[in-house]
Symmetry: C2
Subunit: 343 residues, 2 copies
DNA sequence: CTGTTAGCGCTTTCAG
DNA sequence: CTGAAAGCGCTAACAG
């Protein structure tokens, strides 16, 4: 069934039973030590620990997961590794999970789709204790079935709307407002916004519009997207128009970089002729040659809280759905300045 | 032990036994269907499949892994999610694995380190069937113990040198040669190279030097790094010198972008005053506003082959160590042109 | 082709 | 505090 008896040395990995034998105790005692029980004398505990070390013992999580109610793993569904906006989120999440002795199992929805793998299904077969969805994914149907089986938390996205799934995101409306207010404070009046997709796109737009109206300015929204390409196209059209904007607030950093390219194409300097603000404060924004003013969405904090929620739900089903907003922060860099006329 | 009896509806997930009962067959027959055995009449198979669908049955991979010699998972150790050069590699790898019914389990070494998680150790406890190391990692010690237990393949890196671990990489020497030859063909003679770390750094340097010597030019190598920052610093010093180069071949795209910023700082235009070549052909190189000429390292092919190797080793231990080189391809974009004097 | 029987390595009662 | 015993869901012999 398992490893054939092997001629030379036994390739069989040491089990709890080997450890028990070596330490001169029973199987269950070893199990107790493993579980960190306090009902073990320190001598015995030492003996067990020593035996483990000598044998190079490694607990088999498969076996553990099979017999205990928790597998000790949490699935993390990443939407697209190409855009590493989620890295800090993942760090926050990992920190929370690690402290609880839980391992994140990462899967990349985009790649899996391409090769025809059913990411969520695979995770469920692995008996994950919960699922954290990082960023908007297209696996809506799969998530609906998943939530029937395991707790689900959405991090850095508000979609799909799953009854019973907690949501942890940055405060997009407030973040967008900060961005717009920054531009307004610099003296800009013709400030355009490249709207992005989905609920998040709507919220950022709303924050932008509110800030504009508060200052008696007319909102100027055009459809953008979340890619460099879409930002480029949208900005190109804007800048080719008769009364071009003096500032553009893009949906995210990628679209903002697209706008930057469009500006360069028209011979406009940034921020001399045109100011630009992105969103997400990715490492792209930090690249010297781009140096984008951007809204930081506090992703580390988002990850931390998502971890807390999923661990709570692991213990207690039937919690009400929760929404946690993390404050944003505007990071000013080289892509914003006063409008040209005000010079 | 497992799920408490639950008051309302039974939360217990259907097992192979439930399926057998419902389909009116034995447990083992269900197992055979699951395993895709041909020794099952099509009627019975249908019955089993139907029962599974009706029950919403999902095989428990933990249980499967516990009783069969393979767990059906392969660990994938990612070095740093921040630099998404490996995305296509992962796609190739996933394609191979998926075709074999094996699931990749992704872990991020960098994040894990930060939170104090022992990535490799965790994977081994999960009873992975093999480990693919993607990119250079700092977990050398852990890898050495890992290779005693499971097959290891290095993809996109040559380090650490592990006896018995296959290596799949692009042909760095040849790639660097292509980059240098491209610049030479454009008429450049003062071509500097920003050397990167490790074995790969040495190989790229060697390819560059060979191309230079073949054309009777003097190699000009300075220490760089693999980050934007290090590329910036190195290039800044180079460009401040008396006889500055007319072209720079950087270790990778990130360093190349650093060089781009340094050029901008000095008021040099690219490619008018200075030509730049990167390496990895990441999506950064493709960004319009950067538009870097770069060497594509064929990472999809690297991933495919790494998958093949690991699957082979899963079946057959004691294979000799292998090295597979994937051909590179220069992608010319806007950062290279003729040297200024030749205009 | 089918049903029975052992385990895989571990946790968890339940008596000592 | 400790040991024996049962069982998690599944696979893999083994006789029918």
């Amino acid at each position: 069934m398992n490893q054939p008896p092997a001629p030379g040395h036994p390739p069989r990995r040491p089990t709890i039973r080997d450890v028990a034998e070596r330490a001169g105790v029973s199987k269950s005692l070893v199990s107790l030590v493993l579980g960190g029980s306090s009902n073990v004398s320190s001598d015995r505990r030492r003996a067990v620990l020593d035996a483990m070390a000598e044998l190079g013992y490694r607990p088999n999580q498969l076996a553990r997961g099979l017999s205990s109610p928790h597998s000790g793993t949490i699935g993390v569904l990443l939407n697209d590794l190409r855009n590493p906006w989620f890295v800090e989120l993942l760090e926050g999440l990992s920190a929370t999970l690690h402290a609880a002795g839980v391992s994140p199992v990462l899967v990349d929805s985009y790649t899996d789709n391409r090769v025809g793998r059913r990411s969520v299904e695979t995770l469920l077969e692995q008996r994950i204790d919960g699922l954290v969805v990082v960023g908007t994914t297209s696996e809506e149907a799969a998530l609906e079935t998943a939530i029937a089986t395991v707790p689900v938390v959405l991090a850095g996205t508000r979609e799909p709307a799953l009854p019973g799934a907690d949501i942890v995101v940055d405060d997009d409306e407030s973040g967008a407002r900060q961005a717009a207010e920054h531009l307004i404070a610099l003296g800009h009046r013709r400030i355009a916004h490249l709207q992005g997709p989905g609920e998040i796109g709507r919220l950022r737009r709303a924050g932008y519009e509110a800030a504009m109206r508060d200052s008696g300015l007319d909102p100027w929204v055009v459809a953008g997207g979340m890619s460099e390409e879409s930002g480029y196209e949208a900005a190109r059209r804007l800048l080719a128009g008769p009364q071009r904007p003096t500032a553009i607030f893009a949906f995210n950093d990628l679209a903002c970089i697209g706008a930057l390219s469009a500006a360069a194409d028209q011979g406009l300097t940034v921020p001399g002729d045109l100011s630009l603000v992105g969103y997400d404060n990715t490492y792209l924004a930090r690249i010297r040659h781009l140096s984008l003013t951007s809204v930081d969405n506090g992703n580390f904090a988002v990850g931390l809280q998502a971890g807390r929620y999923i661990l709570e739900r692991r213990e207690t089903r039937d919690l009400p759905q929760r929404l946690h907003l993390v404050p944003t922060q505007l990071v000013v860099r080289g892509s914003t300045g006063h409008p040209p006329d005000s010079a």
